[in-house]
Symmetry: C2
Subunit: 245 residues, 2 copies
């Protein structure tokens, strides 16, 4: 297996970072590499806010549901889906701007995600650890006000970057036949595979917590999907100009 | 710069592939590496349909707006956002399933995108070329029927994979100060930078087409965003169980 494949397989989220800044220019290099990811119809519909103000970092750590590493990591980036820049292009060419379609929400959101994942790979290739912070969507209005995000822009997630001060195990993933299907979607054989996988996840949590109660994947996910999931998002996105037409 | 960073920076879409299959086991290895990408709340909300049937490939090439490389590439993968699997977890634990929130649409879509970008990096690290096919969303109902995608699952995009039979230039990206902001979103200095960038893009197209008319980035994007962008997506997604509540 080549070194890049090994790097990808070694990924785990890091939530404890050394008090060590990135070398000069490294962040820019990582973001430049990340930016080379594919972008839908060449839109380049993503913008990063690099948060350096300690006051803002503390506020964001709170908005994300008290995640202290948001403040403590060497770098914290907020990946935004951005249609505002495209709107300016429409102004320049005196065309009407239509940012209200679900499709446009999808392309900008996917652009932000592809860009971010490339940034993650670049960062990890330099020995950095990362943690995605979806928790910013707990309080997207506060986050957007703090970062002065204009209409047409929304924070998809945050990303902590820094030198790891922990070395957690990688987390087991669903078996390949469950997530890779041939020609059609057929999950009739998945239940038994997921039962086995649930045991592996239980074991992973038992090891991590030193013998405590191991929760399995299915149970975790059942909790996640039975809750009202950030019901404020729809209204927030409408305020930001994303209309799901 | 390390080899992985160089690899990321060398990315360009490939639309012409050699008639050469992937070595045995390589696709599985690439997907396994890709699957190690972060996943929101451990949801793992993505499923890949690997399309091997030539008949299906031809149909998909047409649905995507006549993109022949969808049929010709060694491999074609459809990345789906998948909440159905999570719904099954809710059944198992006798909890109500709430897949109707915008937030859940976001997490499954982002999961598919992070997974895909990791697959892309893994593939490129093995000398393969790739092309994302967002065009599947031109005819998402037909695509979903062909692949028998159940409720709770939608095709986010396709991905062509194969050995490149062309060597296009990399495409210039927006200047760093435009896409990377510090602490707050401030685009007051962007216009001049984008003017320069527009010239670079014009030049890129002129070179690629051997001296023909070069269109710039701003103009391209103004066209993209002034059109009714796949207005069927909202209705299609509602049929698939994504409700944007």
């Amino acid at each position: 297996m080549n070194a890049t494949m090994e790097l990808l397989q070694a990924h785990r989220s890091i939530r404890k970072f050394k008090d060590q800044p990135l070398a000069d220019g490294l962040l820019e290099q990582i973001i430049t590499a990340g930016q080379c990811a594919a972008t839908s119809s060449f839109l380049q519909g993503a913008t990063i806010i690099r948060v350096t103000s300690q006051e803002s970092r503390q506020a964001l750590a709170g908005y994300a549901g008290n995640q202290p590493y948001v403040a403590a990591a060497a770098e914290f980036l907020v990946f935004c889906a951005d249609l505002r820049r495209a709107g300016k292009c429409c102004e320049k060419y005196q065309k009407p701007f239509s940012g209200e379609y679900t499709e446009q929400f999808i392309i900008a959101t996917v652009d932000a995600a592809l860009f971010a994942q490339n940034v993650v790979v670049a960062a990890e290739s330099e020995g950095l650890g990362i943690c995605y912070i979806g928790g910013l969507r707990n309080n997207p209005r506060q986050v957007s006000d703090l970062l002065k995000l204009p209409r047409g822009v929304y924070p998809v997630f945050g990303l902590c970057l820094g030198y790891p001060d922990q070395d957690p195990e990688t987390k087991p993933r669903l078996p390949l036949p469950v997530i890779l299907k041939q020609d059609t979607y057929d999950d009739s054989e998945d239940a038994a595979l997921i039962d086995d996988y649930d045991e592996a996840v239980r074991e992973y949590y038992r090891n991590r917590t030193g013998g405590g109660h191991g929760i399995c994947w299915s149970e975790q996910v059942s909790t996640l999907l039975s809750e009202k999931s950030r019901p404020h998002m729809r209204g927030f996105l409408a305020e930001q100009g994303f209309d799901f037409k």
